[in-house]
Symmetry: C2
Subunit: 397 residues, 2 copies
């Protein structure tokens, strides 16, 4: 029975927990559940791309033939055949990646958390792009680093700025392909230069690559992992090429770091579901992704073209935006006096949603920017939503 | 191409990462993969208890009818119908638990990590049992608390010792039902007393209950959650009553803490797989567990009786052990001069495995103790393994 008249707790949170805030994106997404809202805010993949029947057949097969293994506890580092598959698929451009470098994680976000946990002390310098992926800033913030933002231009982050600011940094975080939030790609020359700069300064280089396979123009650029497997930490995910619902990603790290991350993973959640890993391996082992990914590319690049067309038609002069070669995001920049946080509320009142740019900056936010996702909205509604936004903006100029 | 002649990184880990060690249990489990080893070391449930066909049918149904929802990103706090199911099932003994108190996590281990992250600063006092669950010690250690061990006897942890040592503690961790590693149960009087002591000292009381449903004798005792829903954090899991392979557990916390844990979960891995949660809800929503759990109880309690019988037959005088009322573990205590860490190597040479007791102590380990699991070994091999161990021990007395 309930104890009567006992004192209430006043919750005292740890210092690191006091850094935690809810993501503004998740807050906006709650509002955009209403069907009348045209939402360019989400970072979700289109459910049209989910191979539900393939996944169903995969679960059916694994649970029919290997149920007791799949439903038991499994190894912390992951399901060996899947780790081997990933190591092989990343052994390109002359690099050899070993299965023992691969740690399976419960989505890339967990990779970010484990890397922050293992590499960052309070006050450690962590270098990030300007702007950077919000989820990474959140994950690292828990460990209370000092962020150092480095400049970007249309070719991505500027290695010279890393050389200038990077001394004693414990981590450089970079999203080289079709970056979230800008859609920009780090050029091949810059990749080589960044690898050299980080190696010279002994900075671990974290290459986050959830969108690399979603390349709409030209050839995919080589990974920085392939340029320096002993100094680069690479993160990949099945969320954008298969389904985010299974929460499956991977970290590829030099062996000493991989073992430390494995220990951190063991303390954090023992291991990622063996069942899921076996099913994903079953689904992809015979080349399914090489049939499936081109269908996503075709669909998303068509969506991207529609949005770029709509922006040209409906956005007034004085507004600029990126033209991504892949991925799911376009980044828009307005004249300085436009505050997109205020604009967001006005747009929501007209049932159009986007994510204001400010939260993507570790410091000194540019409040005249915003992020648009082009993959989940129908083509008609992209035109409708961008036209509404364009009129709203025109009224401010 | 690989960059040539670039400097190598020397990995520098965070202070918290330097606390991380691999679990000795996982190390022993690697050795016990050999089929000739009779292993009482694992904490794994018996795969005979996994409802593989039910799970297969569940995945089949959810992926056939709700594939796009199940395969998309989901809410951080979890799948609402499952949270409601759990809240209802814990609303007993006069307590009302709200769905918003329930946070779905990727196995209980993640609950331990998130609670440590949110409540413990470096040097915070964390009270644990003597001995305590190794995975909890590992999870909390990352956050560098100061552990304070409190005494146990055959009725479980002693609340008077908490009253004596608990001032300013940030957490008390307790596993009241069929404790891992001892198999002991905290008596009902002690539960009420512990709730009162913790409330008086404003200590958050963490009640970890993975085994509560596996009760072989008498009636299940009321949860401490039901005695003080505003001051107790409760953790449950589907690992021991359904399958560990889906990595699904839950934390039930007073609302202010639940929201902070939700923020920590978002930064740690966004959310637990929606697909898995929908399938588990589908499997259990119509009362499956009330048919299924009794079959596990019957099987495990038979295993327990066999091991207790074998211990009586083959262990020499001077050795004592617990007689658990449920769960999966028996705790054995030898005369002081026996070091079970050394004994473990000798036993392994004879193809018998157990877990030495020392790692379960936050400090001052009793090196003359060990843990036996009775659920995964066949009855014949339980007799065989305990006979071998008994002879080995007799030779030391």
């Amino acid at each position: 029975m309930k104890r009567e008249n006992i004192p209430q707790i006043e919750w005292q949170f740890s210092e690191r927990a006091q850094q935690l805030k809810s993501s503004i994106i998740r807050e906006i997404l709650k509002v955009t559940q209403r069907p009348e809202v045209i939402s360019f805010a989400g970072g979700l993949p289109s459910p049209n791309t989910f191979p539900a029947e393939r996944m169903r057949a995969g679960f059916d097969k694994i649970l029919s033939t290997s149920g007791t293994t799949a439903l038991q506890y499994g190894p912390t580092d992951g399901y060996p055949p899947l780790r081997e598959f990933i190591a092989n698929s990343l052994s390109k451009n002359g690099a050899t990646i070993l299965p023992e470098q691969v740690l399976m994680v419960s989505g890339s976000q967990q990779g970010l958390d484990l890397i922050g946990k293992v590499l960052l002390d309070e006050g450690s310098k962590a270098i990030v792009e300007t702007p950077s992926y919000l989820g990474a800033l959140q994950a690292f913030s828990v460990y209370q680093p000092k962020f150092e933002s480095v400049a970007m231009d249309e070719h991505g982050l500027r290695p010279a700025d890393v050389a200038a600011k990077g001394k004693d940094a414990r981590l450089l975080y970079c999203l080289p392909n079709f970056q979230n939030p800008t859609g920009l790609t780090l050029s091949e020359d810059r990749r080589a230069e960044l690898v050299d700069v980080c190696a010279a300064l002994r900075i671990p280089l974290l290459e986050d690559d959830p969108y690399g396979a979603l390349c709409y123009r030209g050839e995919p650029l080589p990974t920085m992992l392939s340029m320096n497997p002993d100094g680069v930490i690479y993160m990949g995910s099945f969320s954008k090429v298969l389904t985010p619902g299974v929460r499956l990603g991977y970290v590829v790290a030099p062996v000493p770091l991989a073992r430390k991350l494995e220990q951190a993973k063991q303390a954090a959640d023992l291991h990622t579901a063996q069942l899921t890993q076996m099913v994903v391996h079953e689904v992809i082992k015979d080349g399914f992704l090489s049939e499936h990914i081109p269908t996503i590319r075709t669909f998303y690049s068509g969506q991207c073209d529609i949005m770029l067309d709509a922006l040209r038609k409906f956005f007034p002069a004085g507004v600029t935006w990126t033209k991504p070669d892949g991925g799911v995001f376009i980044w828009v920049r307005f004249p300085k006096h436009i505050d997109t946080m205020a604009l967001s509320n006005e747009a929501l009142a007209q049932n159009v949603a986007f994510v204001p740019g400010a939260p993507f900056y570790a410091d000194n936010p540019e409040t005249n920017t915003l992020r648009l996702s082009f993959v989940t909205v129908s083509r008609e509604r992209i035109y409708e939503g961008i036209e509404k936004l364009g009129k709203l903006i025109a009224s401010k100029l």
